[in-house]
Symmetry: C2
Subunit: 407 residues, 2 copies
DNA sequence: CTTTTGTGTTAAGTTGTTTGACATTATTCT
DNA sequence: AGAATAATGTCAAACAACTTAACACAAAAG
């Protein structure tokens, strides 16, 4: 026996097994039979039959024909995609993405638009609201047909209040009642989350880290943040700011960071840092294809990444340097959190192994053998859509379990 | 609603509410009434009556008379200390401690003896075995009267196998079947754990961090390790090496560490590092009371701490320097893990605020405001006994829930 | 074509829990 | 002091989730 204390359930939940069964069905890509459910749940076949017939009656689950296994052909179960529709929203520093999907997380349509998060909550949310409504209208859809919406934003979340607290890269949003505002505008259940958390959820549910026990998702974009997942559960910490890897100090007297400190990871390897270093290098007169860009100050991380892909040496060096810093921070995280997988996503991660190789090398050097051997470091397979798909996963979760609870 | 996915239970547990009720009773210092239990559990009074009468019948719980509250005087419930006895064992790098306690974690007797962990598992375990047997005999006690024993060791644990894997400070123990060996010798259920994890458990259950939602315990002794607790559950990570804060790299080209790397926190702020720096300082001829110690090489961290307490300036500087390094690493952990409390224990932490003040200052400077405001950093109130009492807590847990399951 | 094997269903019994009435023991009001 | 009020604990009947055990079903093996 290796038991520790039993976890006290936060909110006492009714038909627990029904919910667990639902998630098992949800996250079995090929479908799952009743008998396999009974094994996973530790229940008898008879009990599973009853639970499943409940779920089918509620319209959440449907039967499909599955593969053989020696005896009677098992009936496979999957979530009924026709059960309903959800939207996942990913609000980033410079863009907003909306994804419409069914209960199987099959994307029906997707739209992306520029947005400047510095304009504050009223302007941004009103924009997202109008974007949502015109987009749905264009598809002949309307809000009442959407069962729930999850929204990811790049800041620490106070879950109960539905707002952000002390966000480094979205000043002006502090304590603004985001969820309440959206609930009034859209009238359906809204879940507010951190973009890196949703990225982790997306990759865990439908991407590179499917079903991993302990997953860390690192979002490397303008800012750098991490989402931590333990047994498919988002870990938020005591005030919702867990996973703020971007503001770990790496160099005591390093460059100033937006958070007010110096030498943070974000100030050394984030998108802004890469752009800044590129501009400085061009100013110094180094040979690079970036020098063709005018005005000089308009160079962004995106240009550096494109140039690196095309073989520009300076750009490659800058990316590798970022990978080295990233690896140092991730090594600390690997020692502390001991994840089974680290998924790296966000805009900067689009370069692939050019960034990942130095990360892997540094993590191997700088973290304990037991931990570094157990972790695999990969790029996000959902690419720019990790957070959006995580929001979709969260929205589906809300819808399904809400219906399952009241039936 | 802020629901995420539901956690799939690892081992399907029968009477879950009974176990939760037992722990609620266990960790209510003043006792708890049936009606309060019903509120916490989300059950009716009638159901609680049934559960409690089961627990009383099994001899695990007893009634005491509690305080008034307006109406009928509630009957308070507490764990029945006469239910049984357990032993908590804390194997450190240089010492082993055994604690005999009842089910209320009241210490009946305690013994501590020197031990050199480098002598390997056979020698050390045989020694601990003989120590246990002679100690119990001296008290007129014998092993069959002990219900369960928990043992903490300073290395990463493979829980299922009951052994350590790749331990930095206990070479020779790798893959040795510790739990099996002890089970053969003692014949009762054995739980093997990491010493820092048990320290966290001890402080959470009976010490500075009672009932904290997210607790980190940092053990600063010969080595440095952390135990992470989330809702009273030990977090072990994917291979049991979570919380290895001692081997975070702080200085790229710092001093060599036992783990094979350079510039680890442990190599900068651990007991060995403090001793080494003290010896170097004396060699350089700095004025300090430590220079009276002969031979020079026999100076240990313990002497430095004693000298610092007595006002020796050099020793104080060394401790503060360690505090600064410790604070840097803890700041990273606070950003990632966002704990509600950090408890600092272990031998070096005995100096108190001389170490804690620089830690607090550095954490405040180097971690995000939201996270650093939410965390309080304190010294272990159980002192050297944190890990031992955590082992006791774990052993009690095993006993109680084992009986509760089969009744 | 029967047997074997794995899968799903049905009906009766068991268990943990709720419901609603009642008993118990304190404080507060008249 | 005696009655009203309030909080706590218990009991018996009803209910819901699950198990047990027998049976029905569909494909592969003999």
């Amino acid at each position: 026996m290796t038991t520790t204390f039993w976890q006290v359930p936060k909110s006492s939940v009714k038909n627990l097994n029904k919910h667990v069964a639902l998630d098992l069905i949800r996250f079995s890509p090929m479908g799952i039979s009743r008998i396999e459910l009974s094994r996973e749940l530790g229940l008898t076949r008879a009990a599973v039959t009853a639970i499943v017939s409940d779920l089918i009656l509620a319209g959440l689950v449907r039967e499909t024909n599955g593969g053989t296994s020696g005896g009677r052909r098992p009936i496979f179960l999957e979530v009924n995609p026709k059960g309903g529709l959800v939207v996942g929203v990913d609000i980033g520093a410079t863009h907003v993405t909306l994804i419409l999907a069914d209960y199987l997380a099959q994307v029906i349509d997707e739209i992306s638009a520029p947005l400047n998060i510095l304009q504050g909550p009223e302007v941004c949310l009103a924009y997202v609201d109008s974007l949502m409504k015109s987009w749905l209208e264009k598809m002949g859809m309307d809000l009442p047909r959407i069962f729930s919406i999850a929204v990811g934003v790049p800041g620490p979340i106070v879950t109960d209040a539905g707002m952000v607290s002390g966000p480094p890269i979205m000043p002006g949003w502090d304590r603004f009642p985001i969820r309440q505002w959206l609930q009034n505008a859209w009238g359906c259940p809204i879940s507010l989350g951190n973009d890196a958390e949703f990225g982790a959820l997306g990759e865990w549910a439908y991407g590179a880290g499917r079903g991993e026990k302990n997953l860390a998702y690192i979002k490397v974009g303008t800012g750098i943040g991490a989402g931590l997942l333990m047994d498919g559960q988002i870990y938020r910490g005591s005030t919702g700011s867990a996973g703020e890897i971007g503001h770990i100090t790496l160099e005591e007297n390093g460059p100033a960071c937006t958070c007010g400190n110096r030498g943070c990871l974000e100030a050394l390897a984030g998108g802004r840092a890469i752009a800044r270093k590129a501009i400085q290098a061009v100013r110094r007169g180094e040979r690079t294809s970036l020098s063709e860009i005018t005005p000089l100050d308009s160079i962004t991380a995106r240009e550096v990444i494109v140039a690196a892909r095309k073989g520009d040496r300076l750009s490659q060096c800058l990316v590798q340097e970022a990978g080295y810093y990233l690896g140092t921070a991730i090594a600390s995280m690997v020692n502390l959190f001991n994840p089974s997988m680290v998924v790296i996503g966000g805009g900067v991660a689009q370069v692939g192994d050019l960034l990942l190789d130095p990360v892997r090398k540094t993590v191997k050097e700088r973290s304990l053998l037991v931990a570094s051997q157990a972790v695999s470091i990969t790029a996000a397979v959902l690419g720019r859509r990790s957070s959006g798909m995580g929001a979709v996963a969260q929205a589906i979760s809300m819808s399904l379990h809400r219906v399952a609870e009241s039936s």
